[in-house]
Each structure stands twice: as C-alpha cells, then as structure tokens.
C-alpha cells in the first residue's frame, strides 16, 4: 500500500509544471493544488532539507580538460549518487554520504571543444595557439594546467583564437555534446531518490571581472533538447542571458533560472548600481534580475562572498575564505582596490537592493543564498577530510597545498582553495519540480560543506512556547520561512523563530547570529550582527563589546581531529528585534557557526606528511548562511 502511495505521489509531481509562480509573490507549495495535496498525502510543507551540488565541471569544460580532467558528466553523477569512481589521477573515490541532487554545469563556451583540441581537430590545429594547447594537454599535468590558465586568461581578455568565436564552429561542436549530456542526465534523474538537473555555466568575465552565472533547467529532455546553451562567446552581457531565458520559456513552456557566483572575483561589478553597459540601473533591469536570479552562490572553492572584513570591520567572523580570493579579479589581471568590495559581497548587495528598491520600486538583489563546489575534477567533495581538489593537480597528494597560481605579480596558493559548499533546499520531495520550486521561492541556505539543518521563520506572534508544540507547523501557519516576505503586522517588532541542528556526522555548534540590514531614516544602509543563541549559555555571556566570547578550540593538529566536548548539538531561540522601526525597510538572515575544526591541509599533514607553506590556515569555523526574510515597510 505504501509503495502505491509513493508511486502516485511521484508521478503526480512529474505531471506538475515546473516552478510556475513568479518570485515576487511566491508561496510554498505552489506546485500542488490544495485539493490534490490532500488526496495525495503530499506533505503540507517541506519536511526535509535536501543537500545538493549545483556547480561542477567535467571533461566537457574547456579549462577542466586542460587541467587534466578526464571524468565525464556520467562519472560526476555516479560519484554524486554514491558510486566508487576512479579519479583523474587514478585514486578510488566514494562519498560516505551521497548527494540528494546535482547539476553538472560545464562552461557553455564551446562545451566539448576542449576535447576537440585534445583530439587534434584539424580545423583547430591550423591555429598555432590551439596547437600549442594541444601539445601541452598531451604533456604533464603541470603543462596541461599551464594551458588551462592561458585559456582562462585569453578568454577573460577577449584574446582567444578567432576560430573559438566562430558561431558555425561552435554549433558543430556543441550540438552533439549537449544532446549526449541531456540523455545522460535524463538517465540518472531518479525522482524521490536522486535528482539530476540539466544546466551549464554562462562564463561571462569582461576583462577578467567575474560575472559567471550557473543556469539550471527545471525540465526534462523533451524541452531542454530544443535549445543549445547560451555562451559568453555570444555575449558577455547577463541581460542577453535573460533574453535567452525568456525565449526558452516562451518556446518550450519550461522553466529556468540563473545563479550568479563569485562576486568576490568581479572587482566590484557583480552587484553594481549600474547596468552591464555602465549606465544607471533601470527598473526593467531590476525587475528582470530579481525574476531570473532568485539565488546567489555565496561560498565555493574560490572563496566566500558573504561578507568582507573591509565592509564589516566589527564582524570578527567575516574573514572566512578570503585569503587569496580578495586580491584581484578572476584571472588576477587586475588588482583589488577597497572601493570594489561593496559591489562584490552578498551582505552589501542585499543592502544595496534596499537602496535601489527605495529609488526604483524594485529590489534587483532580492536573492537567497546557496553554497556549491565549482570543482573542476568532476568530483563534488564538500568535507574537509574528503577533499578531492579544485583541479586534478590539487587531487590528494603531499604537495598540493603549495601549488601556486602566480600571475602579474599576484599569487594564489593551493591551500586557499575551499572544499565545496552545499546548497540546502527545503523541498516537499526530492524531485526536479519540488527542488526548483523551493529555489524559486528562496527557501534555501548555503553551507560551507556541513549538513547542519536550519529552520528560520519570521512572524509577529511567535513565542518560546511554540517550541513545546509542533513549531514547524506553527512557523508555516503564522509566519514565513527563510526567503519570504514579512508583511507589516503592527507597531511591535517582528519575531524570528530559529532552530539549528548540527550535522549528524559533524561538529557541534558555536552560535547562531542574526544579520540585520536596513535603511535608516536618511535612506543610508546599515548592518548589525547579533548573537542570538550560543552553546553553554550558563558560562558564556554577552561581553562589554556586545559579543559572546569565543567558543574555544579542541582541534588537535597532530591527529587532525576535534572533540564535540564544546559547543552544542542544537541551538534554538525566539528572537525579537529590539531596534525595529516599522517605517524602515530591512532584511534578516541567520548565520550559524560550528566550533573550530581542522581544514583539509591539516589532514594532508597527517596523511601525507605534507610540508605546508607559511601562513597556511589549518582550522576554520564552518558555517551556514540562510536566505533572508525581508520586511518591506510599504507592504
């Protein structure tokens, strides 16, 4: 009987259209009509958080194959769902905990074209640069890596061999690779168990300033096979990508969204006040950006883009994942200057969003937050003790933490790569439709790779008593979840109900913080980070500086271990904003910190006797960032 119910449920989801609601008035459960929901015993609200990877490269990405990546989209999917895969350097790798969903997102620029260079496509070999890359690719991994860095630099500086900009060549190469990819993803999508989305990466980076977007389709082969990926070789302008999204939805009736990432490498461009062409942002741009880009990827292997010490000098935890990633743009062709930070980091962007909304009536930066990998090995590994590297030269071995990327006088070190982050999604089932819908309504959060479980609700009348009953049900009934809009509810302050449960296989929690951003009476953006729940509250108190003292440190570097004798398995609280002003626009999101744990280079020392460069960071406090809840004073 049980089995039948499940089958009916799954097939009904399969029949439901993908993400049919617009972002602005998105509510949970828009996919299942109310009457149907009752008869199908579909959960009334998301009861599970699903962890997935939305950003991963394989042999189909030009830079990845040059780096030495030989794993295919199929290998990547098999690894993600828990199979043993032979890595690019010949190691057997298997995830202890498989992923729930996945997007293999290869660079759409000449997708599969790297293979043609490798194989010596005669058309390409006529070009001396492509021939040079061909030869390097058949050399050592170091030579391949050099070729890849040359490719990225040439691409960023608009100096690729002419042939690579030729649309006819692109169509010939891309078409068959794209169709093969689609059929592979379709074969691996297993509703209810393992969701495989189709997607790719739009790799816009004018002058090396990163404007990359991940593209995710909700749909299956019947719709996605009708189009080819849109690439930055066609246009670097994200607005053209949105045109393509519109055309796709009109042509197929399908659904698609874009996820910008690595604002930290954009040298101020990602969350600029201006349109792509440098003119002041228009209302139309703001509306389209909010609609097509409901999420931002804030943490991944190339650093953390939530906040920066320069922007938030009072936030002692904002330095996570900054080393090496805040010195320049993507290809290090331009150094970073302080005036650029504000256009790069998510917290500042959320504040800018309020400012622009006050002026134009629409908030372009009304986004939820996720983490992802951006690993170029085909292997999505998010934990510190299983990191398979950003690129093949970074796969497990003694010297990998020292590998340099040295260009134009700037240096990035191997140890500065982060393990993959994760996208945590509160969905009603593990299906393309349910997960995509949750992404559209921003009921998601970012983690740096841990699988902690976080609920956050905003409302007007929550109290501690709610935790004694079915508080999740109460949260949905009397409030909005993360990613939602809190409508004005009177003169008193909004109340937030937050619960954070540790990763069952991970570290205890240090504290829960609320990050509040708002516009003051003069329209100036402000922010505040408030400790709202923490472990051992009988011993740890809020100090004179308004902050809770550090949680301590149990990391033993000799063995690369830590102990959960500090911290707490769960932190929960009901918090009301003491400085709330009903006339002012604001947003609130939660940041949850784990106790300190060893970083991946610390494991390398123990396992391989790695000698680490001076300054290598060996510990960190892993964390999660929830999507904000917005309070719109106008309602």
């Amino acid at each position: 009987m049980k089995k039948i119910t499940l089958l009916v449920l799954v097939s009904s989801f399969a029949l439901t259209a993908c993400g049919s609601k617009s972002t602005q008035d998105a509510k949970p459960f828009s996919l299942v009509p109310v009457a149907q929901a009752a008869t199908l015993t579909a959960p009334a609200y998301p009861s599970h958080v699903y962890f997935g990877e939305t950003h991963l490269h394989t042999i189909n990405s030009g830079d990845a194959i040059m780096f030495g990546t030989r794993l295919t989209p199929e290998d990547a999917l098999r690894f993600g769902r828990g199979e043993t895969i032979k890595s690019n350097t010949g190691l057997d790798a298997k995830l202890a905990r498989p992923l729930d969903f996945m997007v293999v997102s290869d660079h759409s620029e000449l997708i599969g074209g790297g293979r043609e260079i490798y194989d010596g496509n005669p058309l390409m070999m006529a070009d001396p640069t492509l021939k040079r890359w061909h030869d390097l690719m058949h050399g050592t991994t170091a030579e391949g890596t050099m070729a890849s860095r040359e490719l990225i630099a040439a691409f960023s500086q608009n100096k690729l061999p002419k042939l690579m900009y030729d649309p006819a060549t692109a169509k010939q190469i891309v078409g068959s690779v794209w169709q093969a990819y689609i059929s592979t993803v379709e074969r691996y999508n297993q509703p209810g168990k393992f969701t495989a989305f189709m997607g790719y990466e739009f790799t816009s980076a004018p002058s090396g300033n990163n404007l990359h977007r991940i593209v995710i389709f909700c749909d299956g082969a019947d719709k996605v096979s009708k189009i080819l990926p849109f690439s930055a070789l066609q246009s670097q302008n994200p607005e053209k990508l949105w045109d393509y999204f519109e055309a796709y939805e009109a042509k197929t009736g399908g659904h698609v969204l874009g996820i910008p990432h690595n604002g930290n490498l954009s040298n101020g461009l990602m969350f600029s006040f201006a349109n792509f062409d440098g003119k002041p942002m228009t209302t139309d741009y703001a509306r389209r950006r909010q609609h097509w880009e409901p999420l931002t990827e804030v943490v991944q292997t190339k650093g953390d883009s939530e906040s920066h010490p320069f922007l938030s000098p009072n936030d002692e935890f904002s330095d996570f994942g900054k080393a090496g990633w805040d010195i320049g743009n993507l290809d290090l062709s331009a150094k970073k200057t302080n005036d650029m930070f504000a256009g790069e980091y998510a917290r500042e962007a959320l504040k800018r969003g309020l400012q622009i909304e006050a002026k134009l009536g629409v908030n372009p930066f009304k986004f939820g937050m996720i983490g992802a990998g951006d690993l170029h090995t085909g292997l999505s590994t998010s934990e510190e003790n299983n990191f398979m590297g950003e690129v093949p030269i970074g796969e497990p071995r003694a010297g990998r933490a020292s590998v340099l990327d040295k260009r134009w006088g700037s240096v990035r070190m191997g140890w500065q790569a982060l393990t993959a982050g994760l996208a945590a999604v509160w969905a009603t089932s593990n299906t393309r439709e349910a997960i995509f819908d949750a992404m559209r309504r921003r009921e998601v959060y970012a983690t740096t790779g841990t699988r902690m479980s976080i609920r956050m609700f905003g409302g007007w009348n929550f109290s501690k008593a709610d935790f004694r009953g079915d508080w999740v049900k109460a949260g949905y009934a009397r409030g909005v979840p993360m990613g939602g809009d809190l409508r004005p509810g009177g003169a008193h302050a909004p109340v937030f109900m937050i619960d954070a449960l540790k990763d069952p296989a991970g570290a205890n929690l240090d504290r829960v913080q609320i990050v509040k951003g708002w516009l003051d009476k003069d329209g100036k953006p402000k922010e505040k980070v408030i400790d709202v729940a923490w472990s051992n509250p009988t011993i740890r108190h809020i100090g004179k500086n308004g902050k809770v003292a550090p949680v301590g440190d149990t990391v033993d570097l000799k063995t690369a271990t830590y102990s959960n004798r500090i911290g707490a398995p769960e932190l929960r609280t009901v918090w009301s904003d003491p400085t709330f002003d009903p006339k002012l626009k604001a947003f609130y999101y939660a940041r949850v910190l784990e106790i300190p744990t060893p970083r991946w280079p610390a494991y390398d020392v123990v396992r391989y006797g790695a000698k680490l460069p001076e300054g290598t960071q060996l510990k960190s406090q892993e964390r999660a960032y929830t999507s904000p809840i917005w309070y719109n004073a106008k309602g």
Binding site: K2, E74, R78, E83, A96, R97, Y118, D119, G120, N121, P122, M125, K131, H134, D135, H138, A168, K171, Q172, G175, R187, Y188, Q190, R455, F467, D499, L501, K502, D503, P504, A505, G506, N564, A568, P569, E570, R572
Partner: protein, 281 residues
C-alpha cells in the same frame, strides 16, 4: 539449429558490433564522402554530396543556403579534397603526432559509441541484478520511537542517566516528558534505513539494526548524544526486483559494459599483432 538462433549469440559479441560499425562508417565515407584512391586525379562532386553539403548548412544555420552560399560550400569541398589527397601523396599523415592522435581518438570513438548504444535485454539486466543483489536490495524499513539524552554534562553522566531512564520506560508507565529536548523525530514510521541515517547519522542507523524489536533498549550513540530506542516494527531488506531497480541497474550495467567492451574490442585488434618491446639495457 535455425540460422537465426545460431546468429543471435554472434550478434551480441562486442567485436562483431565493432567491426560492423567500422564497416558502416567505411561504407558511408566511401560512398558519400571520399574516394579512397589518392592516385586518382578526377574529382566528381556527386548529387548526393551536394545534398549533404546543403543539409550540413541547414543543421548549422537553421535555413537553406542561397545558390551562392552552396557554390561556396562546393568550392570549399573541392579544395579540401585536393589538399587532402596532396597531403596523403606527400605522406603528411605519417609521423604527425596530431594526425596519429586524431585517428586514434576516432577509433576509440567508434568503440565507445558502439558500447553507448548497446541495449541490454531484460535477461542481461536480471543477470546483473542477481550478481549484485546486495547493492540493489531495498533498505530495511523501521518504525521506531526514540528518547534523546544530551551528553552536555559529559558522557559518563549521560550514560548513567540513560540507564536510569531505560529502567523507567521499561516499566511501561509512559514516556511523556522523559529525556531531553531536541528537534529530531521522536517517532519514525516505516522509514528506510537510509532516511534514519540521514536524520540520526550512520552510527545510530548501524546500532539500530541490532536492537531488539518490541521493547525499549539502548542507549545507542549518535552524533547528537545518546538515545533509548524502541523498534515497533521492522521489515527486512527486500530482495530487489528488476522493475523497481531497473533505472539504477541499467545505468550500472551500461557503465560496466562500456569499459569491458572497449577493452574487448582493443584486445581483439591487439591479438592480431605481434609485439616486441626492446627496452634500453
């Protein structure tokens, strides 16, 4: 034995597929693309070839070529053919690393695409399933209750507390208000072990499997602390049937076959060679 039955096993042989695919491609290129004889100084652009150039154009540009554009394509085809033959005449295909790699990759592509397109029969899949039954076995399914005991005061204190609580609940006076608060499920209904593991962690799930059915027991350890558990019902791992596991089985079969078939195809060619390796002394 009728000829059809005798042919059947042969038709399943990877080598036969490989050779047939090669023959098909050879035929295709021979008829539609190139004359093989490089000494021949006559070039005939056949009607079929012109048609093919036009079709290629449509595939790339989504519209038919104009007369001038088609002429351009034909001119380019002739130029390519002449350069191709002259290059072969000059022996440029020999000792050129790029050409060697290109040809090798074409051969590999033939072998791979043959394996990619292989369609397993139900019998193939059933055989695979039987060979790997444990992998596809449905999870055992548990219905159970749990009481959480925090280890915040140290492991020893938690253990003592857990044992005392166990005695209390074993009396059957109810479980209301017993144990510490945590937002883990207090009851799970017909939950596959993988769901138990995702909520409570692997250690808990492993320990749960060896707990008695129908009575409170424990404590067992998780990443959160200690737990008393009472399994109400357990359904052992089910022998998988093909219809339930078809998708995973097909994917795994294909994945395994691809490598095997590629290797077999190469081995068949390798067998036709005598290899002498003279290593430097």
């Amino acid at each position: 034995m009728p000829i059809k039955e005798r042919l059947a096993p042969l038709l399943r042989e990877p080598l036969v597929h490989f050779l047939l695919a090669g023959l098909a491609i050879f035929f295709f290129y021979g008829v539609f693309n190139r004359t093989v004889d490089v000494g021949d100084r006559r070039i005939v652009v056949t009607e079929a070839q012109v048609q093919r150039l036009a079709t290629q154009w449509v595939q790339t540009w989504q519209r038919p070529p104009s007369a001038a554009e088609l002429d351009g394509q034909i001119r380019d085809y002739i130029k390519e053919e002449i350069y191709y033959r002259e290059a072969l005449r000059l022996g440029l295909d020999k000792d050129d690393m790029v050409v060697r790699r290109r040809l090798r990759s074409k051969m590999e592509f033939l072998a791979t695409s043959e394996a990619e397109n292989a369609q397993p029969s139900d019998a193939d899949l059933q055989k695979w399933l039987d060979q790997h039954a444990a992998k596809y076995a449905a999870d055992p399914v548990f219905s159970f209750d749990q009481i959480y005991i925090s280890a915040a005061g140290g492991d020893q204190a938690a253990n003592i507390k857990a044992k005392a609580l166990l005695k209390q609940v074993q009396l059957g006076t109810g479980t209301d208000g017993i144990g510490d608060n945590i937002s883990l499920p207090q009851h799970m209904e017909t939950a596959p072990l993988s769901d138990v593991s995702r909520a409570f962690g692997e250690d808990f799930a492993r320990a749960l499997k060896s707990q008695p059915v129908g009575a409170w027991s424990g404590p067992i350890t998780s990443g959160f602390g200690l737990h008393l558990v009472r399994i109400r019902q357990v359904q052992a791992a089910q022998k998988p049937n093909l219809d339930d596991a078809r998708q995973a089985v097909t994917n795994d079969w294909r994945d395994a076959m691809r490598e095997t078939r590629e290797n077999k195809a190469y081995q068949a060619l390798l067998d036709g060679y005598q290899i002498n390796i003279e290593r430097p002394k």
